[in-house]
């Protein structure tokens, strides 16, 4: 049994039904789990001396609007000792895009979570300094969301004027 399987097995015993699926694609294992158990899972992977996932290699999010739950927050953990990556994924619905911050376990998550907050508008509970990081502090909207236009202005006709007007990113005071 390789180390990734061992980690998945440990997560299964610890969290049970909170694990929605285990996906293997092109040799990469990604564990999809409920957002309430994310912090517990990461703590287990990090603190357990046998599992020893001690490095947060990447943290980002994706959006599959208009499907729901639209957001996924994706984590790539790495174990120096065993030299393996393990992916974690938690799905969040659009109307309550919130998840626990990983800062208590990985201080390095700070800026990565700020970036996701800035570009996707996902809130990280317990984050020490959740401000915009790349965009100006008075920016309106979250550009990496799929319902944000690509920068061009959408043409408004009579029939869809109000609909576009409602989500049009005006510069507001």
């Amino acid at each position: 049994m390789n180390h990734v399987d061992k980690a998945v097995e440990a997560l299964r015993t610890a969290l049970g039904t909170a694990i929605a699926s285990v996906d293997v694609f092109r040799g990469e294992t990604t564990v999809e789990l409920g957002r309430e158990s994310l912090l517990a899972a990461v703590r287990r992977l990090h603190d357990d001396a046998e599992l020893d996932f001690n490095f947060l290699a990447a943290l980002t999010a994706t959006d599959r609007w208009p499907e729901e739950p639209r957001f996924s927050v994706v984590y790539q953990l790495y174990s120096f000792k065993h030299n393996v990556f393990l992916g974690l994924r938690a799905r969040l619905p659009g109307d309550s895009a919130e998840i626990d911050s990983l800062e208590p376990v990985f201080p390095a998550a700070n800026w990565h979570e700020r970036e996701v907050f800035d570009l996707f508008g996902i809130t990280f509970r317990g984050h020490s300094d959740l401000r915009r990081i790349l965009l100006p502090y008075d920016w309106v909207g979250h550009p990496l969301r799929k319902d944000q236009p690509q920068g061009y202005e959408e043409v408004q006709f009579t029939f869809n004027y109000d609909e576009i007007d409602r989500r049009k990113p005006y510069a507001r005071e």
Binding site: F25, R26, E28, T30, N54, F55, L56, A57, A58, L59, T60, T62, D63, R64, V74, Q76, F80, N83, F85, G87, F106, P107, A108, N110, W111, H112, E115, L119, S128, D129, R131, R132, I133, L134, L135, P136, Y137, P143, L144, Q148, Q150, G151
Partner: protein
């Protein structure tokens, strides 16, 4: 930046500075965003007690160009040109990680010759990047001449990149399944001459700096971070190896056949600015070793995969084969489609772990591309590294992290 914005910022940042600011005991000072030693547009809000840094709050995003969003609007091949513009000192490495991610996502093979050329060019690019780092780092710490020497040699490397790709910096030379085209005949002699030239030149830079008492005074015991702390802070690359952690993705998770090359991972022991400097200097020599081995075993053969679903057919086939014409038309209009699924690929850039998270949705455009850039992650450690040091040393610490603001902000 007017006063009003400053007022708002102080209010917003109250939880990041000490109470002494509000008493007027310490001073808030803006460094940047157009300060020459920040190597781009980085603003640091410093809380100073006299000349001592009490707190340092980086403010980034001045170079944010929305590359990740723009890539979602292009097909997989078109989006390649955007990766060059992130870390503009490591264009080959950026394209490499993106192309590797595509190849993993669509399961595409790469011929051996293309892989070896990829290794040669990324290693040359690593040397070029380290030369810019060394020149500007020394310039920040008031050693003017090193800068001129470094840029002289860097030009030789950029000449090689130009003869391959037609561009000195924005190369876009790697493509899914191989390279844009084969290297020209003058490539090998040019690389060979760089291999002959560089060891002597690196020794010259070292003669100027390594035992120079002024240099040692400015760099030793400055910006110290221990190995475990550096890991917690998310440092990678030479900034991590300077603290004694021998982690290099070329060894740990080899790609492009790095497992077939013999090279060492230089590590420091003290984790200060000086050790990070020594690591990068030694890395240049190791890169030369890799280039030398690669050049010796450079096989002949194709430089592009034969999988016509992803790689356009050569021009000569278009007049004879209907399938070639169809593939040509499909690939240059719609592009190829990638399956729904996500992959994560990480390579060792000159600055550290450069990761690419790529998610496809079955169509010809990437659904989501994210770059985990080493400059972004390394810059996060700056407040921790600079606390308690003088403002003058802060300049050296920024230099020792080797950040590129295009890479930070994307």
């Amino acid at each position: 930046m007017g006063l009003t914005q400053m007022d708002v910022t102080v209010d917003e940042l109250k939880h990041l500075v000490s109470d002494r600011v509000l008493q007027g005991e310490t001073m808030l000072l803006n460094m940047g965003p157009q300060h020459p030693s920040t190597h781009g547009v980085l603003r640091l809000l410093l809380e100073l007690d006299g000349e001592k840094v009490v707190n340092c709050i980086p403010d980034i995003g001045f170079l944010h160009t929305g590359i990740e969003k723009n890539m979602e609007a292009k097909n997989y091949t078109q989006a390649i040109v955007m990766t060059d513009r992130m870390d503009y000192l490591n264009t080959m490495g950026n394209v490499l990680v993106y192309v590797l991610a595509i190849e993993k996502l669509v399961d595409l093979d790469v011929p051996v010759r293309a892989q070896v050329i990829r290794v040669i060019l990324t290693e040359l690019q690593r040397i070029a990047s380290h030369l810019v780092w060394l020149g500007t780092h020394a310039l920040d710490l008031a050693a003017m001449s090193v800068f001129l020497y470094c840029f002289r040699e860097r030009e030789r490397i950029l000449d090689v990149l130009e003869m391959c790709s037609g561009q000195r910096m924005m190369t876009s030379y790697f493509r899914p399944g191989g390279l844009w085209r084969d290297v020209p005949p003058e490539f090998e002699p040019a690389v060979r001459s760089i291999l002959e030239l560089m060891p002597g030149r690196i020794a010259q830079y070292e003669a100027l700096l390594t035992d120079n008492p002024l240099w040692i005074d400015r760099t030793r015991k400055i910006g110290v971070i221990s190995g475990p702390e550096a890991l917690r802070a998310g440092l990678t690359g030479p900034s991590l190896r300077g603290s004694g952690v021998a982690w290099d993705l070329r060894k740990a998770q080899p790609y492009c056949g790095y497992e077939h090359y013999e090279f060492d991972i230089p590590v420091g022991s003290n984790g200060d600015v000086y050790d990070r400097y020594r690591c990068r200097m030694e890395e240049m020599r190791q890169s030369l070793r890799i280039v030398d081995q690669a050049l010796r075993k450079l096989p002949s053969g194709p430089v592009q995969s034969n999988n016509r679903k992803f790689v356009p057919p050569p021009r000569s086939e278009l007049g004879e084969s209907m399938e070639a014409l169809i593939h040509h038309f499909k690939l240059w209009t719609e592009g190829f489609s990638a399956p729904a699924g996500s992959v994560f690929v990480a390579v060792e850039s000159p600055r550290g772990e450069l990761g690419c998270f790529l998610e496809g949705d079955g169509g010809p455009k990437p659904h989501r591309v994210h770059f985990r850039t080493p400059s972004f992650a390394n810059l996060q450690a700056l407040p921790q590294l600079s606390r308690g040091h003088l403002v003058a040393d802060l300049v050296g610490i920024i230099g020792s992290l080797d950040i590129v603001l295009g890479d930070v902000d994307r």
